[in-house]
């Protein structure tokens, strides 16, 4: 394919991925990789390298806004980044030691799980949890501002949350994704952190986690500008447009619709991996 055509096609695919990623809450990175490998026949290692760069760009853009709004909890983020960064390094080192077929299958499974998770209607638990002694010691409890005032919250089970974050970091390094879904599970469901704070803090953490594996990806040649550049610009643009459209669209309907599409893509990824075609 001529360079200009390749650039345009990749940019369009990445823009769509960014748009769908932000509308579903899945993130653009997790969608762009299967699109590149399945549609364009790009080697999965180039795809995950490019995807990781786009994930870091989107996260930095979003985190900048969240930091200003005071929604993200910097202490929770920093404490959990201890786990995600170590996990990310392990994942990135592992990525080059396992075959691309296995990578594709793992990718498919993770994508399938994320699609299922986002399609579920989220129950706003809102039940205050009892703070654990460790959370007290680490000053993880916080306050977040809502329209009606400030709501204090406590954090429970920091240790299991920390463990799950290591896994989230590892998957991020292995597959070049943000692992936002798993991060939110750890914070929202296990540690009892309010959903808004979980999402903001997760987004804030993704950049730092991503960088831990990106340095390794860069040295191993996973990040090639001809592909990483249009992917980064496309995903960034697509997710910015998505964020603008979000308040005006029937989100629950869209989520269910896209969950099916993403589910099919995930299955295809698994099948292609098993057939050894990736």
């Amino acid at each position: 394919m001529p360079a200009y055509e390749f650039t345009i096609v990749v940019f369009c695919v990445a823009t769509t991925a960014g748009l769908v990623g932000s509308l579903t809450g899945l993130g653009g990175g997790v969608i762009v990789t299967p699109a590149l490998t399945l549609l364009l026949g790009v080697d999965i290692r180039y795809a995950i390298g490019a995807s990781l760069v786009s994930v870091i760009a989107t996260s930095s853009g979003a985190a900048a806004a969240y930091v200003r709004d005071g929604l993200s909890n910097i202490r929770i983020g920093m404490f959990l980044e201890l786990a995600t960064t170590v996990g990310a390094i392990c994942g990135a080192l592992l990525a080059s030691r396992i075959s691309t077929k296995v990578l594709a299958v793992i990718f498919g499974i993770v994508l399938l799980h994320s699609a299922w998770q986002t399609s579920q209607m989220r129950k706003e638990t809102g039940i205050p949890v009892n703070s654990s002694p460790l959370a007290d010691r680490l000053k993880l409890n916080g306050i977040y501002k809502t329209r009606t005032g400030s709501t204090p919250y406590s954090v429970s089970h920091p240790a299991p949350g920390f463990g799950l974050m290591y896994i989230a970091g590892m998957l991020s390094g292995l597959l070049g994704i943000g692992s936002g879904a798993l991060k939110v599970i750890a914070m929202d469901r296990i540690m009892g952190i309010p959903f808004k704070v979980s999402t903001a803090t997760s987004s804030f953490m993704i950049g730092v986690t991503g960088v831990a594996s990106a340095a390794i990806y860069l040295k191993r040649g996973y990040i090639h500008p001809v592909i990483a550049l249009p992917v980064m610009l496309g995903v960034l643009g697509g997710s910015m447009v998505g964020a603008r459209l979000l308040p005006r669209l029937p989100v629950p309907l869209l989520r269910r619709l896209f969950a099916v599409v993403v589910g099919v893509i995930a299955l295809q990824m698994i099948i292609e991996g098993l057939r050894g075609k990736v």
Partner: protein
């Protein structure tokens, strides 16, 4: 949260945005340099060449971008784009470093240690092969 914290959060916010902005600007610039002369080059990413890539080491990238006798605009354009990407990758690291300063100003010893450990982990990742 005290005022120092607010200012620091502003600084972190600005750092993160600048990283993205620099990556986009250098990316567009490098992309235009590359495509303006090599729009017809055949590209294919079906096979992985890995570390043979010119863009796998910061030293190689800077060399490609700045060597004066570079008639090879392919590499020059792509190297500029890659420098943009590396700037993007550096911003979260700067963010972590700024957070250490923030926690030190708040005299929060535990978090100075935790944040320094995160920074050390990131530094390790850069030294690994």
């Amino acid at each position: 949260m005290d005022i120092q914290d607010k200012q620091l959060q502003q600084l972190i916010s600005v750092t993160l945005r600048s990283g993205v902005l620099i990556a986009v600007i250098l990316g567009l610039l490098g992309g235009v340099v590359f495509l303006s002369t090599h729009y017809g080059d055949a590209v294919s990413f079906g096979t992985f060449t890995g570390t043979q890539s010119l863009f796998a080491s910061p030293k190689g990238i800077v060399h490609e971008a700045f060597q004066p006798q570079a008639q090879d605009t392919v590499n020059r354009g792509l190297a500029i784009a890659q420098i943009g990407i590396i700037c993007l990758l550096l911003t979260p690291i700067i963010r972590v470093a700024l957070s250490i300063v923030g926690f030190a100003l708040e005299r929060d010893g535990i978090y100075v240690v935790i944040t320094a450990a995160v920074l050390a982990t990131l530094t390790c990742s850069m030294l690994l092969h």
